[in-house]
Each structure stands twice: as C-alpha cells, then as structure tokens.
C-alpha cells in the first residue's frame, strides 16, 4: 500500500499519502455513519406525528402539512399548480367530490373550486417535543396511576440498591480472597470462578420458587436486589485482581501500628481502589438498568415494572405508538450515553472483563 521506490519524486509521494489518508477517513466515515444512522432515526421518529410515521416512503426529518391560521381556525396549505404552469400557495377549506375548495390566505373571503390533482402537499419540518411528555405521562393502564415515569423511578431504585449491594458485598469478599492467606482459599476461589460458567437458566426455577413461594417476595424488587448483597463472581474477580496489585508493605505497616484486617480494608485498601470500585458501580448500573429477564420473571403488576419491561406498553394488540416508543427509548438510553461520556475509562475496563455481552 505505502511501498514506493526512491526514484519517485516527493510530490507524487505527497499526493499518494494524501489519497491514502483520504481513503482511510472515507472508509471510517462510511462505517461510522452506518453505525450512527439508527440513532438519528430513533431521535427523528421520536419527534414525528402519528401521521408522519405512517407515511410511505418515510421522511428523514419530522414533517407535517403546512397550515395557516385564519380567525382562530387552522387550514392546511397546498401548492396549487395552474394550467399555465404557475403555482401559488392556497389554503384548503374543504372538499366537494373531486374538487377542493381553496382560498388565498391573503384574501380569505373569496373561495374557488379547483380539481384535487392540481394540489400538492407542502411539508414543513416540525419537531414534536410533546411526544416526550406524552410518552412519560401516558397512563399505561387506565385507572391505575402508572406512567412511564413510574418505570423510570423503579429502574432507578433497583439500580441504586444493586450498586449498594454489589459494592458492600464484593469488596470484603475480594479482600478476603486477595489479601488474607487463609487455608483453603485457593480451592474456594475455584468455586467462585466456576459460578461464572453457570447459566442463569439452571438456577432460575428453584430461585423463582424460593422467592415467590417460600419468601413470598413475588412482584417486589427484592428478588432483583437481595442477591446482589451476596457478591457475584465477576466483580469479586475484578476487585481481587486489583487488590493484589496494592503493595503488601502498606498493610504490614498498618498491622505493626496495631490495625486489624477490617481497619486495613476500610482505611487503606478501599481508598486506594476507587477507580476499580467506580468501574464496578458503573457496570452494575448498566446491568441493572438493561436487565430484562429478571424483571420479566419476577415483576407482574404494572406499578412495579422497570423501563425495560415498560417499553412493551407502547405495543398494543393492533398498533404500535412508534413515536412515543422511540421517545421512551431515547429517555431509556440517554442516561447511559451521558454516563459513558463522563466515565469512558470505567466503561472500557468493564467491557474488557465481561466480554461486552449483554442480554
């Protein structure tokens, strides 16, 4: 690609380099645009009217008929093409058979009849931000005080407690595995790693029975939250790897000064591990926020739904409110994207550990 012989003149090398750079940029841009277009489509759909959504072929930007307001009444405006080829904008008052009754917006008093096929629609770009308000406040079940806002609140509550639970349980466990040389530790750690291989389907039914029948926690957040207070293999592993890199001299010095393990853990190790702890907090949030299967299994009544479940509300038996669904999806997605821009390092580190799969 970049091989050239010494007899080539520098200018031609420059030209060649330029085209090479240009080609690379063009290639990246093309693929990048393909990756990005769905986002634009989501945002654009979320701002469209219901009529605009049904249009074939669809418009890229939200569009609607131009209207004119006369004496507090709104009339659609069309382009009238006359026989002589000239065209002008007219407002349509009504229809009579194959004719339309139109008038000049500047002179509303005089109307005239023209054939419908001489009129063409005028579409203007208009963003319907109220879709967002409607998506959030739409009663998902008539009579119940449940809106998408309820789901947002539920998702936040669950994510918050999952982060608390994960951090409170995984840090001491990882400390135990990383820095206390107790007999049998390495054997137990193999069990920790082995649970990573366990598909959730294996434990699903007994846990469902345990939570629903034995503990009577059905249709509450507890089955989703409580297990996080008992540590999980991925985060133990990540924290343990990090704790092991902290020099043992620091703990030894504290031990000489009379500190016990708990004090070493809370006063020395934790403050030094803020980067990895924030990675785990971010990833626990991401996991809890995106989780679909857990809520699907345990949450039955609509006032307990999370956003992942609630998105299905916009899908009725016969039709789908695509504009509101996309607005709700934007609301669902934006917190994660915002979090990503602030916490890129944590995201990348977490991806490298988990393989970046979600499901």
């Amino acid at each position: 690609m970049a091989t050239y012989n010494s007899y080539q003149r520098p200018f031609s090398v420059k030209v060649r380099k330029f085209f090479e750079q240009f080609g690379k940029h063009a290639l990246i841009w093309t693929v990048g645009i393909l990756f990005f277009i769905p986002f634009i489509w989501m945002a654009s759909t979320s701002l469209k009217t219901k009529i605009d959504i049904g249009r074939i072929p669809p418009n890229f930007l939200p569009r609607e008929n131009k209207t004119v307001e006369i004496n507090g009444q709104s009339f659609p405006v069309f382009m009238l093409t006359s026989v002589d080829g000239t065209s002008k904008e007219v407002a349509v008052q009504g229809y009579e058979g194959s004719d339309a009754i139109v008038f000049d917006p500047a002179n509303p008093s005089s109307t005239m009849n023209v054939p419908k096929d001489t009129l063409t629609e005028i579409l203007i770009v208009k963003f319907h931000w109220e879709n967002y308000v409607n998506a959030m406040t739409r009663a998902s079940r008539p009579g119940m005080d449940v809106t998408f806002f309820t789901y947002l609140k539920n998702s936040l509550i669950i994510a918050f407690f999952c982060i608390i639970g994960t951090l409170l349980s995984c840090t001491p466990v990882a400390y135990g595995f990383a820095r206390i040389p107790f007999p049998g530790r390495d054997t137990l750690f193999i069990f920790v790693l082995a649970t990573m291989m366990l598909p959730f389907q294996v434990t699903m039914i007994p846990l469902f029975k345990l939570f629903n029948e034995t503990l009577r926690w059905g249709d509450t957040f507890l089955p989703l939250i409580v297990p996080t207070f008992f540590a999980n293999a991925w985060d133990i592993f990540l924290l343990r790897q990090f704790f092991r890199t902290i020099p043992s001299e620091m703990s030894d010095a504290a031990r000489v000064d009379g500190a016990n393990e708990w004090q070493i853990f809370t006063r020395i190790i934790i403050p030094l591990s803020i980067p990895v702890i924030s990675t785990i907090a971010v990833f626990t949030f991401l996991w809890a926020w995106n989780d679909f299967t857990g809520p699907l299994i345990y949450l039955q009544s609509h006032q307990n739904y999370t956003m992942a479940l609630g998105l299905q509300d916009f899908q009725g038996q016969r039709e789908i409110l695509w504009n509101q669904l996309m607005a709700a999806s934007v609301i669902f997605t934006v917190p994660i994207i915002v979090a990503f821009f602030f916490l890129q390092k944590q995201f990348i580190q977490g991806i490298k550990l988990t393989g970046g799969k979600e499901g």
Binding site: M1, T3, I28, F36, P58, L325, F332, I336, G356
Partner: protein, 319 residues
C-alpha cells in the same frame, strides 16, 4: 459455617495442627468472604441441586411432583420443537458468532489506523453497544419494518425489494443477526486492545519485504490477536446459547395483529433454546425446563473446554 474441604487434606497428610496465625487467618478470612459463601449456598448450590432434582420429576408448579427419572430428557429428545430450537440456536452460533467476530476485527483494524480523530470514531463505533438490548431491538424492528421502514426505503432506491423480516421464517434470523452486528462495540474494543499489542516493527518489516495488506492481515495480525479471538469466541458462543431478550421482543412484534402472542414467531423460526426453555417455564413445565437447563449447562461447559483445547493449536501467545 461449612469448612472448606481442601484444608482437611493437608491436615491428614501432615498430621499437624494449624498454627495460631493460620487459625486466626482462617477465622478472619471466612468472615470476610462470608457474603459469598452464603450467596453461593443459597443462590447457586441449592438451586443447582434442586433443578437437577426437578429435572428427574414431572414437577409442574402446583401439582405434586413424582419421580420420573429420565422421562423429561427422553421427552425432550423426542420433541420436534426442542430440536427446532436446537437447530435455530446452532444457526446463530455458526453464522452470527463468526460474522460478529469478522466485523469486529475489521472495525477494530479501521479504528487502529493512524488517522486523526480516532478517539471520536471509536466512540461512534462503541455507542450502539451500550443501548439497552430491548431499546435496540425495538429500534431495529422499526428500521426493518417492510412497508415504511428506513432499510426498505433505502433498498428501494436500488430497486431491491425488502424481505418481510417478521413474516418470512427465512429472514427472521438474519434480522436478528443484523441487530447484533450493530451492537458489536464491546467486541471491537477488546480487539482494539489486542491490536495495539501487535508488533509494529513486524508489520513494517513485512511491508518493506513487499507483503500486501491482505498478507499482513492473514500472516501477522490474525495470528497475533488469536488469543483475543478465542476469548471473543467463547463469550460469543455462551451468549448465543442463552440468547433470549432480543428474540422474545422480536416474536412479540411479529405477533402484532395476531390472536395471541406466541414465542418463536414467525413459524418458530426465532424459537431459540432459551426462548423455548422460558416457554416451558411459563407453562409450569418445571421438570422439563430444568432438564433443558442442565443440558444447556453441560453443552456450554463442553463447548468451552473444547474451544480451550482447540485453542492450543490455533492461538499464539507472545512471550
């Protein structure tokens, strides 16, 4: 608290007592890891034992269960729908996983080129992968809609007629694969970190020796990122065996306007292993579903071991 089995072996062998320090460490260590021990017993070990037990009964939720031994397994292997689910899952493992890997590697190579603005491009390529799976699936259903979707419109510019992804069982899985490719950002990132370790001097000297782009890719880059490929392959295969949410939402959409919502629509073409298992679970066929879960577990274990064994032959570890 149960004592770890391993400490008994040295005790028997050496016939010595734990020193005071060791006993102290054991007490403190177990205290520190006690959340995991309790969690392991309640949320892993107990349910594992129970589901293995259920798989040998005709347990159906409310009804009293009866020992049936291998009846669930036998019924499963005779069930045409089960084999259909297996077939669909294997389709995804064989087609979607390699496609994801190939596209991820190519994108990672693009993002590893020495051009300005790469950190910006990396964000663009990565963003789709953090969109919640449900939202991403809904968005893609909207894009793929055959009458007024974005894709069918673009295809029509080129005179191509869009297939009906939601009615045609031949096209439903390609639709899901397409959705999956949009979200490969995580795999790209992992490949990218691997590419940054590929020796630049090796690539440059190969270039001076006249190796073209394809030869350098085939003979240097791909062998050098093979450990990463292995990691991505294992996680990809495990993910595909448990593929659920996207297929579930897809089938729900394919049911719009139909009398009832049925998993696997259209015509069981999106009935994947985990979807079928979930279907059995919601129909209170707990014994059957548990048997399926255990078969899944064993298959995942075997696949991982096989891939790790095979990797000794195909992957290259530097140093």
């Amino acid at each position: 608290m149960d004592q770890p089995a391993s400490i008994e072996t040295p005790l028997k062998k050496q016939r010595r007592k734990l020193t005071r320090m060791e006993r102290h460490n054991l007490r403190v260590g177990l205290l520190f890891i006690s959340p995991w021990i309790v969690g392991f017993l309640i949320f892993s070990l107990y349910p594992m034992v129970m589901s293995l037990y259920y798989s040998f009964t005709d347990f159906q939720g409310i009804l009293a269960s009866q020992q049936t031994w291998y009846a669930n397994y036998a019924a499963m292997f005779r069930d045409e729908r089960f084999w259909n689910a297996v077939k669909n899952t294997i389709y995804m493992v064989i087609i979607a996983v390699p496609l994801n890997l190939i596209f991820s590697l190519l994108c990672a190579i693009l993002l590893n080129l020495k051009v300005r603005g790469q950190s910006f491009y990396r964000v663009i390529f990565f963003l789709p992968s953090i969109v919640p799976a449900i939202a991403a699936t809904m968005l893609w259903i909207w894009i793929l809609k055959p009458d007024n979707g974005l894709l069918s419109t673009v295809l029509s510019w080129f005179g191509v007629h869009s297939p009906n992804w939601f009615l045609d069982p031949l096209w439903s899985k390609p639709a899901l694969i397409l959705m999956g490719i949009w979200g490969i950002g995580g795999t790209i990132i992992i490949y990218l970190s691997g590419l940054q370790d590929v020796s630049q001097t090796l690539l440059e000297s190969a270039e001076l020796d006249g190796a073209n782009w394809w030869n350098r890719l085939k003979n240097i880059t791909i062998p050098m990122v093979s450990p990463i490929t292995l990691f991505n392959l294992i996680t990809g295969v495990i993910f595909m065996f448990q593929y659920f949410s996207q297929a579930y939402v897809f089938a729900r959409f394919a049911s719009v306007g139909k009398a009832e919502i049925v998993v696997g629509r259209p015509m069981d073409s999106t009935l994947f292993y985990s979807v079928f298992l979930y279907d059995k679970f919601t129909n209170f066929r707990y014994g059957y579903a548990s048997a399926m879960a255990w078969v899944l577990f064993i298959v995942i274990l075997l696949c991982t071991i096989a891939l790790l064994k095979a990797s000794n032959r195909f992957t290259y570890y530097a140093g």
